[in-house]
Symmetry: C2
Subunit: 428 residues, 2 copies
């Protein structure tokens, strides 16, 4: 009512302030970028689509089978040798790393480093040897075990580095550089409690004093738990109901090398694969990591940055997986730079190491060395150059999305095809 | 390289600034809202989906038929009586409105207002009578003609109002209120050129001096033209390939009143209907209106606001269609308020008038009075109350999306079902 002062005044108000020179919000010239609602739209559309998908599955019938999931990890559900071995070995390994550090005061730096290197090498080679030799480990179970070991490898490497840096500070005279708000200082951090907190915390970079959140918010914890349970079910359901039939349908064109059909099948696989990847991203990097962090009162929740806006390939890779990116920067890139290595050489080296680990995590569980994952990661370098050189703004962003949507199903189909040919065609 | 000062300094840097107390971006607590990239994702997914849809249409075959579209507007493509009549009548009507205004100096205010009312009433009833009596007009052609007439009605109503306000200003002593930067003042605006500019300009509110953009940006114009052509094709294609088969499949359950099947079909229709509505929104409110505005150097491009973030139903209705909202506010809501009408009564009155026009634009072309559209619009009032009262933030936003996704296909199915029963079942 405040707008209308009296019956005669409002016409003047209306007359002269009706149109203003301005751009539409969706024009990039407007500079507007608040699309929070689109995120809710995605969630609503997801729920509607799932409803349709499961109420009208007249094409293949309902293929979702929770028991089948268990059999992916274990060939014989009553016999868990691999999992038990893995858990036990992990616990042992943490001890193996802890002792050289704790003993560093009594043994020499060189002996300590040597013990470390032995342990870290074991951490990579023992599980891969186990996975390759034990026939009772399925590809999914093997991949899971190797992921756990790789994470542990990175964590313990960081633990070793930081404690080494602490000793360097003690030896130099620059002690005044230590910030005053540090609660625990070396060697006060060398406790079992501290290393186990770090092993379970959702980060790969060790720090003496992690920022802690003031309290556990129960409603936040419950919502993340609900999301974790819902999205894991959804992922399994989508893989069984949508991806597996699509992959099975695409085996024939791939064997016949029928190119137009291959492209059609690849595009058809791209949609479920991409959606599952997006759900996986949210499930792992938002729900699960926030759940663990909330439970442990771990304060730093930056598990991802705004990679959805990335206009270059490099921006995507350095923002979608912050724990790994932080680790690479702190324990690989900066030490290399510190030794005077060229910036571009260091970046290429990161992509090489990353490509190696991608290949390691795929080839060993499948017991099949094809280098598709390695080549997929290495192809990011020319792609990054191309996008950075020729595409800007929304076009660059669209190119990143296309490379994600199209690139992944190509790699998936390559491995599945080779696995299929190796195991089913040769037998028949 | 600036980060690494020397070989010994970087460890301290890395050691103490690795983790910071912060929330994840996707948590609403972070306050982050830049999701511009998701918009590009939608475009890329749309293109991929279209590719899949048209390369693998093995279910119904390709149903897209551009010739069929023409026959929607005209039963006999060689005989255009309706369209010709409409165009001619529109031109005449503009003259009918223009003359009373131009003559206002010589004839009395009362005579002028009377001539107006006659003309504006004709503008609503003549076309509806034509559509109802002429059998050569199809429902789509009739709806199009009525939309054109309704837009013209609103424009000429605004033209009349503003010129009346101008005369009021001249009669009162408040001439000093006229802003100095006004280029044209009453009655200098009463020219044919001025009224035709307003008739074709993408706004419903008349103003003596519209803000003008400095020049026609050719690349902007071409991009909007390309979008217009692409999205109109896409809409037609999606209706023919996706919506029509889905609606045809849903006729049987609706006749048998099989409720579980009805809900399944309704959900199945919701997805294509919603996508087509979104494409229509972009096509009409962004591409087409910006194209016309750029061509006419019309400066105010605010054709929509950020309705995708709307957390209440009221916010959605007042932000998704700014030309109509602006008109309602300026020529209906504020005059009512100026006469001392209660705020809630005025708002309900707007919904009532809006519901009348929705019904008018659907029932007359279909020659079938069912009040579904009227009830659909009126049901927004209790919905708005419910959402505003019980839901906040992301939950409110999700509720608005759900009402959009579910509400529209219900209304569409109601009309299609009744139309089908009336025209096909009664004949057989």
């Amino acid at each position: 009512i405040s707008l209308v002062v009296s019956n005669t005044v409002y016409p003047y108000y209306c007359l002269f302030s009706c149109h203003v020179l301005q751009e539409s919000l969706l024009s990039s010239a407007s500079g507007y970028s608040n699309y929070r609602g689109i995120l809710n739209w995605c969630v609503v559309m997801l729920v509607v689509s799932i409803n349709i998908f499961f109420t009208s599955s007249d094409r293949y019938g309902i293929l979702v089978d929770p028991i089948q999931v268990v059999s992916l990890f274990l060939k014989d559900p009553y016999n868990w040798p691999a999992s038990c071995l893995i858990i036990e070995h992990c616990v042992n390994n943490v001890f193996f790393v802890f002792f050289p550090v704790a003993l560093q005061g009594t043994i020499s730096e060189t002996t300590g480093t040597f013990l470390y290197l032995v342990n870290l090498t074991t951490l990579l080679f023992f599980p891969s040897a186990t996975v390759l030799t034990l026939t009772s480990i399925t590809p999914v179970g093997g991949a899971f075990a190797l992921c756990v070991y790789t994470i542990l490898f990175m964590k313990l490497y960081s633990y070793k580095d930081v404690n080494m840096w602490c000793r360097e500070i003690r030896h130099t005279k620059a002690r005044t550089l230590t910030p005053v708000h540090t609660h625990v200082s070396y060697p006060g951090n060398l406790t079992h409690r501290d290393i186990y907190y770090f092993v379970f915390a959702p980060t790969l970079c060790y720090e003496l004093n992690f920022p802690r959140s003031p309290r556990i918010r129960k409603s936040f914890l419950l919502r993340r738990l609900f999301e974790m349970l819902f999205f894991i079910q959804l992922q399994i359901g989508l893989v069984q109901q949508w991806m597996v039939p699509t992959i099975q349908n695409s085996m024939k064109p791939f064997q016949d090398m029928d190119f137009s059909r291959m492209i059609e099948r690849m595009l058809k696989l791209a949609v479920p694969n991409h959606l599952i990847w997006l759900i996986f991203f949210y499930w792992f990097f938002h729900s699960s990591m926030n759940f663990v962090a909330e439970l442990m009162r771990f304060g730093d929740r930056e598990f991802y940055q705004d990679w959805w806006n990335s206009e270059t390939v490099t921006y995507f890779w350095s923002n979608w997986n912050i724990p790994v990116h932080k680790w690479c920067l702190r324990h690989f890139y900066k030490p290399l730079m510190g030794r005077g290595v060229n910036k571009w050489v260091a970046q290429t080296a990161i992509f090489l190491v990353s490509a190696f680990f991608h290949e390691y995590l795929v080839s060993v569980p499948l017991k099949m060395f094809r280098l598709w994952a390695f080549m997929g990661m290495m192809s990011q370098i020319p792609l990054a150059w191309f996008v950075g050189r020729f595409l800007r703004g929304n076009y660059g962003n669209a190119a990143v999305w296309i490379s994600l949507i199209i690139g992944q199903p190509i790699a998936v189909l390559m491995y599945v095809h080779d696995f299929y040919v190796l195991h089913y065609v040769s037998q028949s």
